[in-house]
Amino acid sequence: MSALLEIDNLVKAFHGVPVLRGVGFEIRAGTVTGLVGGNGAGKSTLMNLLGGNLRPDSGAMRLEGRVYEPENSAAAARAGISFVHQELNLFPNLTLAENLFLTDFPIRGFFIRRSVLARQAAALLAKVGLPHTPDTPLEHLTPGERQLVEIARALHGNPKLIILDEPTTSLSPPECERLFRLVRSLQAEGCAFIFISHALGDVLQLCGRILVLRDGAVADQGPAGDFTIARLVTSMAGREIKQLFPGRTELPVADADTKPLLEVRGVRQPGVVDNIRFTLRRGEILGLSGLMGAGRTELARLLFGLAPHRSGEILLDGKTLTGGPRARIRAGLALLTESRGEDGICAGASVNDNIMLATLPAHAWGPLGLLSNARLKPVVRKVSESVHLHTRREGAEPLRRLSGGNQQKAVLARWLLAEPKVLILDEPTRGIDAAAKFEIYQLILALAAAGTGVLLISSEQEELLALSDRILVMSRGRLTGEFVRPDFSPESLLRAALAHHHSHPETHP
């Protein structure tokens, strides 16, 4: 039997940075292939190539022996490849049936044939094992059930290959079981699957073959029977740190007897984080590791007062933090947020205005809050120089004109001006070039050397390993590991990050 899908030596680079460096493999009909790899291994780029969202720089794809070059996602669907993405593209204000058939209603004249729609939708829903009637509004479903709806939508049109991207992150254990049974029954009918997941136990349980991607190349592959979790983890992580990092030379002030700078005591918000407790000392860089969706960003926002928590306490310098960001900035906390465009910058405002934004109260004069441009200018210029910010019009241009790296430096400059005691950095180097990254690392080290406590959230493991004094690991809203330099290893971090994934969560208190 020949392969359903053949991938041959795919290469793809973004702005000169190679993301896929010659990936090749085969998928046979009626098989389930597990695709694993760390953050940034190239999985999503590979999927975008398959789905027609991107085009490869070189290499070829063949579907059932014919050249497969999809123009867009619709073409991919027509060819018989359908996707279930991690973020759902569903409409909560429509019914299940309407979501399933939104662009493809069965009609007579102008009207939807309700009975036909209901019958077809019911069949699809039955296939994925959802007990709801087709006219249930989507908003009545739990996130896990919505995931099944998305899968049902992928089944419509009888695809030959279904790609499931992290389908189990929002599923409860019984829902997972149901999904696996569904995959097996469709497999028996001849449908092939690519199963992308961080839940390694699930991967081993469900898949026939396994493919490990690392740094844009196939690092390991073979029948699932030959794999153990240990081998998977080694294959995913196993690489020396070769990228350049500034050395972590100055270690935190060793005043173990003094009180911690930041203390988090049993913070809990149902459905988000559970029983988080840790401390951060002066001059310490504390890494926070975990897979995407582990609740790290949510924890950071909660610490900064952007999201509520139900129980537990957060203390800065021995004082309980309350109120919103304004109060916490005053208390000495700062947060560089994960998504720069969404809540990190005012893209249309000038670079200088962005830099000044958080420290305006300190420079405002009198009850009218007057600002003196003459006095502000040197302050901004000084901090801009200290972060090596490159602007063309002395910072008068809108921030959106700058490169990603310079935008991030501007945000960092904003928080440097506030002189925080504790700085939380959520993915500070996401989407920026190598040179700017290095400069940001240096800034982080300099800050710690000056006594600032840094909580560093990053999905780039090497970054965490190189910079942190201590690393905490989160999984599904809980802390699942703590490692102190020099006892870091990529394997142990990954194992902790996967903790709640292959032992089902309800077994935990």
Binding site: A74, N89, F91, P92, N93, L94, E98, L102, T103, F105, I107, F110, F111, I112, R114, E139, T142, P143, G144, S170, L171, S172, E175, P270, G271, V272, D274, G293, G295, E298, A307, P308, R310, R476, G477, P505, E506
Partner: protein, 333 residues
């Protein structure tokens, strides 16, 4: 507890409506008579028709401020034609052509030139009003009695305006609920980006919503002509506010994606009319009508906002296993 709050908020307008009817029924005997209630429905028919059209535009998170002006412009053209010797069917046909044409202009301004719906339709409001005044030469134009006959005629014992209103609401409802167009419109209102991703032609859909709104404005113009028999400079003045208010009262969200033509628009229009009729029945100062009406609208929108916030809070979690706990927890908070 939070679930109960959501259910109550979802039915806030019916509760509000019942409250208004009972209050005025108590204060003014006879207010709850069948004749009076039937009259209420007929009187609210133009606003209900306008609100039905407005529902389509609000559904895609737009707004149409020009409906009152379109009513006036179409009525002025029809009036001029009638006085110029054209037959009534021809004049009516002209009105029904003008409405969608104006809607098309609005739709193109919004979807092709990317002008904010608010400002685009504010501009066409002035164009339309100016045009109507130009045609009528800023005088009240009395039309032949045939319009008044039309307004008071009955079909099978039911007043014609009621039949037209019912037909529009039924058609609008079928269009929104029973056709792919309607369902896609709703999806677009929830998220135009997601809708485009799913393969929906968002531009064409949004333009069509404005065309439908324009058509309903023209029909509402016919209904009002049937009631008044004349085109005055104030014809349709501020009707856009009544239409938006009625649609919003009927459960249509200003943020798009939520709402219904029936019973929403009728309910909203009838509620506004009931407040007005009730105030008449208790001999309240007529100048107070807009004050009470706007207070009712404010309360309804406040409730809608609370409903949205509760919904958003209910989905703010990332892991499923603590969901049941999360619900009770955030309700207690």
């Amino acid at each position: 507890m939070k679930r109960t709050a959501l259910i109550l908020l979802d039915h806030a307008v019916i509760l509000l409506f019942a409250g208004v009817l009972l209050t005025f029924g108590f204060l003014a005997p006879g207010f709850l008579s069948w004749a009076s209630l039937g009259n209420l429905l007929i009187q609210s028919s133009p606003t209900a028709v306008l609100a039905a059209g407005m529902t389509f535009v609000l559904m895609v998170a737009g707004v149409d401020l020009s409906v009152g002006a379109v009513m006036a412009l179409a009525a002025a053209v029809a009036g001029k034609m009638m006085l110029g010797g054209f037959s009534m069917p021809l004049a009516l046909a002209a009105m029904l052509f003008m409405g969608p044409a104006c809607g098309l202009v609005n739709g193109l301004l919004v979807t092709r030139l990317h002008i904010a719906a608010f400002i685009a339709t504010l501009g066409t409001l002035w164009l339309g009003r100016g045009g109507a005044l130009w045609i009528t030469e800023t005088r009240a134009m009395n039309l032949p009695d045939s319009f008044l006959h039309l307004g008071s005629s009955r079909l099978l014992g039911i007043p014609l305006p009621g039949i037209i209103c019912a037909a529009v609401l039924a058609a609008g409802n079928v269009l929104l609920e029973q056709t792919p167009f309607g369902r896609q419109l709703r999806a677009t209102g929830h998220s135009a980006v997601a809708a485009a991703k799913a393969g929906i032609n968002v531009r064409r859909l949004v333009t069509a919503a404005y065309v439908i709104c324009g058509f309903c404005a023209a029909l509402a113009g016919i209904l009002v002509l049937g009631q008044l028999g004349a085109v005055s400079p104030k014809f349709g003045l501020n009707k856009e506010f009544a239409a938006i208010a009625a649609a919003v009262l009927g459960g249509t969200s200003l943020f798009g994606g939520r709402g219904a033509v029936f019973p929403g628009s009728l309910l909203g229009a009838a509620l506004i009319q009931a407040v007005e009729n009730g105030l008449v029945a208790i001999n309240a100062n007529p100048y107070l009508y807009p004050v009470v009406t706007s207070a009712v609208i404010f309360v309804a929108v406040l409730l809608d906002t609370l409903r949205q916030r509760l919904r958003a809070a209910a989905t703010r979690r990332i892991f499923p296993e603590t969901e049941a706990k999360a619900f009770s927890a955030s309700a207690a908070a």
